[in-house]
Symmetry: C5
Subunit: 80 residues, 5 copies
């Protein structure tokens, strides 16, 4: 599981049906690269989180048919 900082919400009006209306976050890695994750925990912008990928990313959503490959698992307490 990787560590990211929540950078912003992602606005996306045209999307594949498999993503439903789940909220999306832009995450920033330690090296500055950006990724997009589904967020079942309600992570606020500016917080540090860790994420899971692959099949586990779908299982971490309440609905495992969501076509995500990156899901926020939790907020990290007292990071940086």
């Amino acid at each position: 599981m990787e560590i990211y900082k929540v950078s912003q919400e992602l606005v996306c009006t045209r999307r594949t049906p498999g993503l439903g209306h789940h909220s999306l976050r832009v995450l920033e890695a330690a090296d500055g690269s950006l990724s997009v994750a589904t967020d079942p925990v309600g992570a606020p912008v500016g917080k540090w989180v860790f994420t899971t990928i692959g099949t586990a990313a779908r299982f971490a959503m309440s609905d495992p048919t969501v076509v995500t490959d990156l899901t926020i698992c939790g907020l990290i307490d007292n990071w940086e």
Copy 2:
């Protein structure tokens, strides 16, 4: 899910049957590297999109037997 800019269509007349006749896009990452994705949302060249990999990439197609490992999930509004 990763962020890419749609660079061009991919022309490929000789392909494995498992790809069917699905349209393919060449995507450019922030670091300039290129990848190939299946596109169920009709992403125009020049637009910024985000993608999903792995099993989710197949689920994001209308037909989950398509042998893709990278599928465009949606267009990003107001990016860059």
Copy 3:
């Protein structure tokens, strides 16, 4: 399977239900990058371990429904 040094425990009070109460470790790779892993073997801080990813990461837990993508498989004897 990748080689890491156990850096610290991860404190995370707000997490997805799929992680249960399993203990989490922050791991440091040879290049200094950090990852988060579930730990079924009780790896002490400062020890060198190797890990497994993907579906195998869930199978390596006693409970394969845990939504991890990185699990510690074992301690490496006499490393470095």
Copy 4:
């Protein structure tokens, strides 16, 4: 799906039974790194191809029990 140039055939007389007698190609990425792929389309040396990974790599073979993680999906027309 990633883009590679076919570099050479791979000669391998001692292999795991799960690979069968499928032909193997050494592929070169844009950054010069080399990988090994199974080839169901008969890609000639020197041609540019794109590949699929993971479960899709096995599905792209006629026999999905082949233990490959990288399979050539198609030849790219008019590349470079």
Copy 5:
């Protein structure tokens, strides 16, 4: 599938039960980075091998429940 040189055996007395007593090898990539693989083909130290990851890594073992994510598939003849 990736290309590695067998660097040494891995000694690991404390391990997750899902790895059984399968022998483990430390592999060195072209860039000098190290990984750990299960070895069903008996690859000698110093030889060049190629490996498979993910679900295929488990299928390449005689026992697909082994919690590996990297398995040696074969020895490469006449490499380097």
